[in-house]
Symmetry: C2
Subunit: 150 residues, 2 copies
DNA sequence: AATAACTGTTGTGGTGTACAACAATGGAAT
DNA sequence: ATTCCATTGTTGTACACCACAACAGTTATT
């Protein structure tokens, strides 16, 4: 420690940030997301790819752009995502019945197994994080509030 | 609408994402952050730069790395940030008293005015977002839970 | 005096993301 | 049928963000 007149890391005044929902949201999300990324990395995918898997699994036959819209990102981002998931033999593009422009996305059998295994791990991770809350009721409250803020 | 067998955007099943705190956290944060970015953009800064301003204003004389640690990002990212804020005449680097390696960061007079004006707008924005919650008590609860998740 | 630790800085790479453009195709209007 | 516009997947580009490694200058430790 060189400077006698510099402030220690622990007693920094965060000012309005301390009670700012925006800042708190960002910090919580980054913390949550960092560990979730590690978990996904172990699975060989990314958080974004996992969310694509969830949508495709629950809604077989969806178009790439439909998935993109559901997840709130550009359809151009979907190309690389679907490419990767298809290379991993998790999902597949089938030509759409009535539209030769688009593909319908489906889960492969292996993709289904992979997804079920992954979801278990993701659910477990969520549960360990939720241990920081006091009750299931609190979690429901949190989710409800977050929905209203979206 | 071409495909009769493709699902409409509105009735997509989000599966486990619907009640996933991680996903809800991400969506809420992205929504919150997008509008906050616009607000900051009007002010001529970025959300990250604003957070630097808050820390420097409340803790005059801090080192660049101290600010970086407080905000949870790498100190290398602080260089461009401080450069920009210094170019905008908002803060200034002064040589640290007892350490010729580091700078001590201080607010300029203009920076102080700018900060107070900005904080008001940020606070107003937060308040409009908080209108989506039912009560101040709920907001406190939310902040409290988010802290526990960080 | 020597070695390690720390500071600001630069460069680099990876990631995510938004936007514009394009050819192919579909739908609607006339 | 033909024309015009919208949409799909795709590519390219650009930008922001962030982590990590390396470096010279400086400080702390031994």
């Amino acid at each position: 420690m060189a400077q006698t007149d510099t402030i220690n890391d622990t007693d920094i005044d965060f000012g309005m940030l301390e009670e700012s929902v925006g800042y708190r949201l960002r910090r919580a999300q980054m913390n949550f997301f960092a560990k979730f990324s590690e978990l996904c990395s172990d699975l060989g995918i990314s958080p974004g790819l996992f969310s694509v898997l969830v949508i495709v699994e629950k809604n077989p036959g969806l178009t790439q752009t439909a998935v993109a819209q559901a997840l709130g990102n550009d359809r151009s981002a979907m190309v690389a995502a679907v490419d990767k998931l298809e290379n991993m033999k998790l999902i597949e593009r089938r030509p759409a019945k009535n539209d030769r422009r688009s593909y319908a996305l489906f889960m492969t059998k292996y993709g289904q197994e992979f997804f079920e295994m992954s979801s278990r791990k993701v659910r477990d991770y969520e549960n360990t994080m939720m241990a920081r809350l006091h009750s299931d009721h609190e979690k429901d409250q949190l989710v409800d509030m977050l929905k209203r803020l979206s």
